[in-house]
């Protein structure tokens, strides 16, 4: 089967023909095609999450010297299904003094925003929900709904842990939006397009040498760190730190409402990995993708899974940051570095150098800025580390 036939705009000829033969108007055909595409995306997203949760648990298990889920279904693959069914049968408890409208709206919004984000992800050259010309901006806009859902949940629950979690959401998701967006602007500058598919196309297909991650490694690093924070992944999981604020903003949710937050969390992680793949790892590009377009989907999903794996790996390795550290890391390290990188890349691009030279200059600039930034950071941090912090002067009565 030619997978390009599920392109939403030029849907496979058989389906298109089918609709035309039914004598429908042009707009009607578009609507029906888009509807089918949207439902396909939705089903894909939900199935994907079932797999992702299993994958994350299995990975965490293996990294931690455990087996992970292995009872339900082959290799425990149906564990998530069993969990979802169990959550379905659980009672839906709403706290007495909860603000009911935002409380109930929040899980829906959380799910809504990740499904919307799937729309502009190019799975393959022509397998994309909507190849709009402001794809990157659209992702930012949709992403903001997610932080709103978390804040609504935290505020509406009338729970102090949820409230602290909600505040942390504001502080973290808003702060890290800046470096994320600044890191995403750099490939946009180089490729001259905001279309997600355009970004993938711009990275050439000569076996990965055109990927932006080679020429713009620093931009990718900033993007990846910020995406960990935006995805509420460790080490930036302090907004749902189970050892501090128990579960953060979703503490009061039970049963399926909790499951929707859980689903949104995993799909969000995956969407961020998918954006990273599209912008920095050539998206669906890979060998023989021109001859066999269906390969593109496989390349894309494979690369995304690798990024997702790195996210899970980081989670097993790094302790959680504290809120002040999280804030200063963003505003005092990532943002200035991203701004400097932005300026440097803009100037290099305006020099109009011939191609291989331009790529090398970009790489050198990236590495130089990274090294400078890390050195400066190291120097200030060493000062902070070796001076013992005494937050208060203890007083003990002496004779």
């Amino acid at each position: 089967m030619d997978l390009s036939s599920i392109d939403l705009r030029a849907i496979g000829a058989w389906f298109h023909g089918l609709l035309i033969s039914s004598g429908m108007s042009q707009t009607g055909i578009h609507v029906i095609e888009a509807l089918v595409g949207a439902l396909l995306l939705l089903i894909f997203g939900l199935t994907l999450v079932i797999f992702l949760i299993w994958l994350e648990r299995k990975l965490a298990g293996r990294i931690q010297d455990r087996l992970g889920p292995n009872r339900v279904g082959p290799y425990g693959l149906l564990q998530t299904v069993a969990d979802a069914l169990k959550l379905l049968t659980k009672e839906d408890v709403t706290p007495l003094d909860a603000d009911r409208v935002p409380y109930n709206l929040a899980p829906g919004l959380a799910v809504f925003h990740v499904i919307m984000a799937l729309a502009v992800i190019p799975f393959s050259n022509r397998v994309i929900g909507a190849d709009i010309n402001v794809g990157v901006l659209y992702l930012m806009a949709v992403g903001a709904i997610g932080s709103m859902a978390a804040l609504m949940a935290g505020w509406a629950s009338n729970n102090k842990y949820a409230l602290i979690g909600g505040f942390r959401v504001v502080a973290q998701l808003l702060s890290y939006e800046i470096p994320l967006v600044l890191a995403m602007i750099i490939p946009v500058m180089v490729s001259g397009t905001m279309r997600m598919n355009g970004l993938a196309v711009a990275q050439g297909s000569i076996f990965g040498f055109g990927w932006f991650v080679w020429t713009l490694p620093l931009a990718f690093l900033i993007f990846f760190v910020a995406s960990l924070a935006e995805g509420e992944r460790a080490p930036f999981d302090l907004l749902e730190a189970e050892s501090e604020i128990v579960a953060g903003y979703n503490i009061e949710y039970s049963g399926m409402k909790f499951a929707w937050f859980f689903l949104a969390f995993f799909m969000n992680s995956w969407v961020l990995a998918a954006i990273g793949t599209t912008i920095f790892f050539g998206g669906w590009q890979g060998p023989f993708v021109d001859q066999l377009p269906a390969l593109g989907v496989i390349y894309f999903l494979g690369k995304t899974m690798i990024l997702f794996f790195v996210q899970a790996w980081v989670r097993a390795t790094f302790p959680r940051l504290r809120i002040d550290q999280m804030m200063s890391f963003c505003w005092k390290f990532l943002v200035p570095m991203a701004l400097v990188l932005f300026a440097a890349v803009a100037i290099i691009l305006k020099l109009n150098l011939p191609q291989p030279l331009e790529a090398i200059t970009l790489l050198v600039a990236n590495v130089a800025i990274l090294l400078t930034g890390v050195t400066l950071l190291g120097r200030t941090q060493r000062k902070a580390l070796y001076a013992p912090k005494r937050a208060f002067t203890p007083t003990i009565p002496r004779l």
Binding site: L8, R9, H30, V31, A34, L35, G37, A38, L42, L88, T89, K90, E91, D92, V93, P95, L96, N104, P107, G108, L109, V111, F112, I115, M116, L118, A119, A130, I132, L137, Y138, N159, K160, Y161, A162, L163, F167, L174, E177, V181, L182, I185, V188, G192, T193, M194, V246, I251, E252, G255, M256, K257, I323, M327, K332, V335, L339, A346, L349, K350
Partner: protein
């Protein structure tokens, strides 16, 4: 051009319907035995001392303000970034001034200690 956005509109409707189902479904399926103890907010097994909605510290508000400032500036950069190849050196200089103004604000905010957590 606008036909590009039709799938988005349809997806919006589909996602909204799905979200609505997601919100309504849990209250239809599953048992319902509410009691006062169960509906207390969870605070590690104790009845909370006070209502949760109280004064909250200004730091979070500062972050939100900073976000609005920076995010809008960065969004303005996007159209410029797309058109960079077509712009002359003047465009670059203009962005330089734009960044300079941003930088002044940034340094001011840093000096004021808005990035510290106290």
């Amino acid at each position: 051009m606008m036909i590009d956005y039709l799938p988005l509109l349809i997806l919006f409707v589909v996602a909204a319907v799905f979200a609505a189902i997601a919100i309504i479904m849990p209250s239809l399926i599953g048992p319902k035995n509410p009691n006062k103890m169960k509906q207390e907010p969870i605070e590690s097994g104790m009845i909370p001392f006070t209502d949760a909605r109280q004064r909250f510290p200004v730091q979070y508000y500062m972050v939100a303000v900073l976000f609005i400032l920076f995010d809008i500036e960065v969004v303005f950069m996007y159209p410029w970034a797309v058109l960079l190849n077509k712009l002359k050196v003047f465009g670059l200089i203009e962005m330089g001034f734009f960044l300079l103004i941003l930088l002044i604000g940034y340094v001011y905010v840093w000096r004021k200690g808005a990035f510290e957590w106290d």
